[in-house]
Every structure is written in structure tokens, then in C-alpha cells.
Symmetry: C2
Subunit: 382 residues, 2 copies
């Protein structure tokens, strides 16, 4: 994913802190590493970018060829980076890796907050190491056209999966408190989650911890849901697929009722939908995430809903990218939104004994406002 | 996953380093955090275990109820842990989190190597922080009966998926250099990988970066494979599913040829199979991982194969658990194996222009030897 803008942002951080090189370390499940290297691996690799140079990655010899195919970085083997020579003097692999990074940097090193403490300590025996708080997080929050394209693909997968889920729910008939399929079986969270994941898989995406919760479960925000789905009660479906190839996520939520919604849920749905409309009306480059959050809190309060202990208990939204939750934050914390951010708007209300409602769309922030990435319309009683 | 043994191991580390509390931090994609908390989350949580006390996790208020359902740890909200009071004096969330952890610990803190550097620095303004190199890694390498059961489940999923893959390959007919299905289409890596992932999904597992590589691709160890599968040439299938619910992996590899194998591949297969047999004959508690590795290298060398630049270019095996690669290591590094370790034995040979062969089984190390967890027989020409 390295491109000119990103190299400049890291270079600027190096210059402003007087550092010689920027380092990251981890497997590709570390979002910074995956972002900087585009390399997929279950074993940790080293990323290092010296001032005004291309980024490089250090991998085991057997991975050099594959890394060169997958990563835009310069690829060198641990052997060529001097690792095995260092090991002769320093047999502890962690300490040897620290010294190798220090040698490669040839000066003080800047690292992101997620950099592992053990390796940082090993490096600091040889070169000064400094914490960089925000550069990578800011870079990652600023999506390129190519990244936006990848996120649209993940979103298309999410919407196809949601369509599959709704079709399953629609063909089941409310029978007492249950949903009964035409085959006479009771429809469960597991059935719907499996159908969602199977659809995501066909799109090259994987769904993890997908929420298909119903009835009382919906009043607990992130409960994934289990067992029979409730009729005439909210069903929250929160889908956040990651594309296996690109690593980019999408994130969307719908709350539906199969049958008749209670008056309380009906009212909550209307207010949550209004809150979403309000938030989108305020969404644009330069707006502050905390201002959007506060506007939604006011709307909820005017309608008689609070933020604690129940009600609107979470943030209004968050950035999405190579992690499902990343910068910026639309919460009390907030901060200015910028063109190129991809964020969710996801107001929700949760009351034990009544249930929960959440609606979540994803959008690209632009100078004048936003481009909605979510195409799926709101659906409620089905 | 916390149990008496594990608490004792952490307590021993605390006592031997004179520390007051053990801390970990991350989302559930951090293996230490998932292992210690059994909590699944896309947002980072704090794990803290004070000397001779149960472990606790600190989560946002909205996650308290779910965390209490999922985790055996004591669950407290950030509010109850004093986070929002601290934020009034220290508005930077990272620094405030560091101070909160320091306050909760009430003394010096021990952390694993993967602990984030940024948070370690924030803690160190308030309490001393020390690196613990091996305790968690050693605890995780020592599987409980319950963990072994979970890994057997993941392995069963892998074997069902492999059976699906082989069925697809068997029904395709070698036609020139390609495999052609009864429907007249060309069988691809993508087809087989999709079938594997769909089967894993039915078992509640997900496959990530599954390898279905053929022909020339197989000489590059971890190339995932793309496009048409080659007839009369090695097809390496490496499946390492993670159970979504439990988090535990399995890991297995088979190399098959649909049609006729070349004499070179035939000979490589025979030697790799012998190497696997030899390694298993040496596998037991007390044996050193590096001794097994060296024995296999000798066998390969006696048969005319080397370790660089081509040949047996990787380690002989590795621990498997809540990460696909974890301690112990069966490589030049090595170290003594212990009863309760679950490891792979995976000799392989790779030659550009000829191809690659790898066979991988997973086994539980016992006092007298091992219990093989992999049930799937070796298969070669099909």
C-alpha cells in the first residue's frame, strides 16, 4: 500500500522527531504491518523505512520470493540483514532481532504505539527508540482511491450477505415467539450467521463474530446471538466482513422485526433512524466527530432517551479500513474529520426488557459532505 | 482459559521478579489476550492479574455484561476502574490508560514481549514495568485436556476439508497439463480453496491463507497458489483452520499428484515421508526440538538433499494453539519438548524447476512419545 503520500508522512515524522528510521513489527494480523507491507504471513516480519528511502521488509530466506511478489517494499532476507552473524554473538533471538533493526536503521528509531515492548527494549540497547503516536493511524484514516475501491467490494459482500439473511428471515413464519421455516424447523441465529458467512466466503471475504441477535439479546450491544430467533421482536444483524485478499473491512448493521414490532421498539427505531439522518446531515470534512456525537445525544435526549446506564451507550461511529475499528472516532473524544476518512454512522438504543435497535451505514467523508458507501436501504418490519 | 495451573505460573513469575501484577492488552486477535480472557472483541481490553488474585479484565461499560458471560475473569468497567476520573486530569487516552493500569496494579508490572510499547511507556510514568520473556508462551505451549479437545475439533474440520479438496481433484481428469472437471471446466486453486473454506465454515472454523499450490508454485514454500491446477505435478494443500468459537487452530499438509509424478518428485516424496517417520520416532517429552530438526537434516543430506539455498528450507515443526505458529520450535533454535505440547512435524523439500513436497501431521507430545492428532493418512498419487 506504500505510495508517495505515505512515504512523505513517515518521512515528515522522522524529520520532526530527528529519527533515522521508522519501524513496525508483527504478522499480517497487525494492521500497521499489513498496511505498510501488503504481505500476508503468520510469522512476524520487520518493516523498516529509513529517511527518504523506500520501505523495506526483512523476512526469512524462504519467504523472500513470495514477499517480492506480494509486497511493494524492498525485500531482504534475515541472512542478508546480518541476523545470523549477530546471533553468533547474541544468541537470544529477540535481542538479536533488536540489534539487527538498530544496525539497519543506523540511528534513532521511531515506532507506532502497537510496536512490541520486548523488541523495543532490545532495540534500545543499541539505538534510541521513540514513540510515534499518530502518524500511521492518521495515514491509515486517509483512504486512497484504491483503498476505497476495496472497501466498496467488502461492502458489496456485506450487502449480499444481508440480503441472504433477510431472505431466510422473511421465509420463516412468526409462530408464537418463534420463527418457523417452511420446512417446519425453528430458525436460529446460527442458521442465519452461517448463511451470512457462506455468502461472504463466495465474495472472498470472511465474517468474524457477526452479530445475529434477537429479542432480549439485543439489549446487550455486542452479544453475537444464539438459539432461536424471536418473532415480533428486534433482530440486530451486524456484518463486518474482511476481504481476505485486500484485508479491508466494511461494516453495516440493520435491525429488523419479523412480524409486529412493539410500540417501544417502533418508537426507538424511528428515533434511531432520525439520529442517523441528523448525523449524516452534519458529516463533512472539517466537522468534529465529537460534535456529531453530541448532536445525536441531544436528539436522543429530546426524545426522552439517555446515554447511561442504558440507551445510547456507545459511540456514534468510527473509522473503518484494514481494521474494523480505527481512526477517526465519532465519540466524546472526536477530533476533526477529513476528506478521505471512511466512517460508520451507527446510532443505537438499548434497554433491558425492551430490546435494542442499531442502524449503521458507512460513508466516505468529502469536502462538501459525504458519499454513502452503503447502498442497502433501511428495512424494519419484514 | 484461566485455571489453577496458569494462575500459579503467572504468580511464580510475579514472585520471581518482585512484581505486583501481570498485564496484557489488546483485542482478541492478540493471542495472549484471547488466551487469558476468552473474550472476543474488536476493541482492546486490559487484562490484569495481581499476585495471588484472580485475573480481571477492564472493558467499556457497554461490554461488561457480555464479558461476564464469556470470560472467566473478574470483569470491571473502565468507569469503575477510575478511567474517566483520570481522564479529567490526563486527557490523553493512552496516558490515562497507562495510569489506570498502574493504579490498578498498585506496584510494579510485568508484561509479555508483545505488550504495546506505547502503553508500556505510559505505565512507566507511574509504576516500574518489566519484560517477562517466556511465562505466557510456556503456559500456552502446555495444553490442557480441554484445549486438546478443541484442537481435535479443528483438526477434524481440517480433515473434512481436505477430503472435500481431494474429491474435487480426483473427479477432475488430467488432460495435458491441466485438470479438467466432468463439466468440462479447468479446475483451479481458487475452486479447491473455496471448497475447503466452505467445508471449514460448516465446522464453525475459518480458513485463512490456505495453500492450494501446484506445479512450479510448490517450490516457493508459502505461495498460496492461483489459477489452473497442474496435472502430473505436485499439489500442496496446507490447511490451518481456526475455530471461531474457541480460537484454537489445527495445521496439516498433504502433497498429492493427480496423474503421474515425475521420478524426482516421487523420490522427494519418499524421502520426505521417511523424514516424517524418523521425526515421529524421536518425538517425546524431554527430546530437544533442535535434535529432531538435525536428525531430519542428516536424513535429507544422506539422501542427497540440502537445506540451502533450496531443499529443506524451513523448520521441522512448531507448536500450535491459539496461534498457528507458537512455542515450542523444532528448528536450529529448538529447546526441550514437554508433555502437553501440541506440535507439527512437517518436513519438506523445494526445488525450483522441479517443485515442492511437504507432509505435515500434528501430535500431542507425551511422556513416552506422542499421540497423533492427525488421523488423515498420507496420500500421494490420486
Amino acid at each position: 500500500m506504500a505510495n508517495t503520500y505515505r512515504m512523505n508522512a513517515l518521512d515528515q515524522a522522522l524529520v520532526s522527531t530527528g529519527s533515522r528510521a521508522y519501524a513496525a513489527y508483527g504478522t499480517s494480523s497487525d494492521a500497521n504491518v499489513r498496511y505498510l507491507t501488503s504481505f500476508r504471513t503468520s510469522d512476524p516480519v520487520i518493516y523498516l523505512k529509513r529517511l527518504n528511502e523506500e520501505g523495506l521488509i526483512v523476512v526469512p530466506a524462504m519467504e523472500v520470493e513470495r514477499a517480492a511478489l506480494e509486497s511493494p517494499c524492498t525485500v531482504i532476507s534475515r541472512a542478508d540483514a546480518g541476523f545470523f552473524d549477530i546471533l553468533k554473538e547474541e544468541p537470544d533471538p529477540l535481542k538479536a532481532t533488536g540489534r539487527m533493526i538498530a544496525d539497519l536503521a543506523g540511528g534513532s528509531i521511531l515506532v507506532p504505539p502497537e510496536f512490541p515492548f520486548g523488541l523495543a527494549q532490545a532495540i534500545s540497547s543499541h539505538q534510541p527508540i521513540q514513540l510515534d503516536l499518530d502518524t500511521l493511524s492518521a495515514m491509515r484514516s486517509q483512504k486512497t482511491l484504491s483503498e476505497i475501491g476495496m472497501m466498496r467490494e467488502s461492502q458489496a459482500a456485506a450487502e449480499d450477505a444481508l440480503e441472504t439473511a433477510l431472505a431466510l428471515i422473511r421465509r420463516a413464519k412468526p409462530t408464537g415467539e418463534l420463527l418457523v421455516t417452511p420446512e417446519g424447523t425453528i430458525l436460529t441465529s446460527e442458521d442465519v450467521r452461517y448463511a451470512i458467512h457462506a455468502t461472504l466466503l463466495r465474495h472472498g471475504c470472511r465474517g468474524v463474530d457477526t452479530i445475529v441477535a434477537s429479542g432480549d439479546e439485543t439489549s446487550v450491544v455486542h452479544l453475537r446471538g444464539t438459539g432461536s430467533l424471536a418473532a415480533n421482536a428486534p433482530i440486530i444483524i451486524d456484518i463486518f466482513p474482511q476481504n481476505e485478499e485486500t484485508g479491508y473491512f466494511a461494516d453495516m448493521t440493520r435491525t429488523v422485526v419479523r412480524g409486529e414490532a412493539s410500540p417501544e421498539i417502533r418508537e426507538m427505531y424511528a428515533v434511531v433512524s432520525d439520529a442517523k439522518t441528523l448525523a449524516f446531515s452534519l458529516l463533512r470534512s472539517g466537522a468534529d466527530g465529537s460534535a456529531l456525537y453530541r448532536a445525536v445525544v441531544s436528539l436522543f435526549e429530546d426524545a426522552g432517551y439517555g446515554t447511561e446506564p442504558d440507551g445510547f451507550v456507545h459511540s456514534l461511529g468510527h473509522g473503518v479500513g484494514i481494521e474494523v475499528h480505527e481512526a477517526p472516532s465519532l465519540s466524546t473524544r472526536g477530533g476533526p474529520l477529513a476528506a478521505g476518512n471512511v466512517v460508520t454512522i451507527e446510532p443505537g438504543l438499548y434497554y433491558p426488557g425492551i430490546g435494542g435497535v442499531r442502524i449503521e451505514d458507512m460513508a466516505l467523508v468529502t469536502d462538501g459532505g459525504y458519499e454513502r458507501i452503503t447502498r442497502f436501504p433501511e428495512v424494519f418490519c419484514i
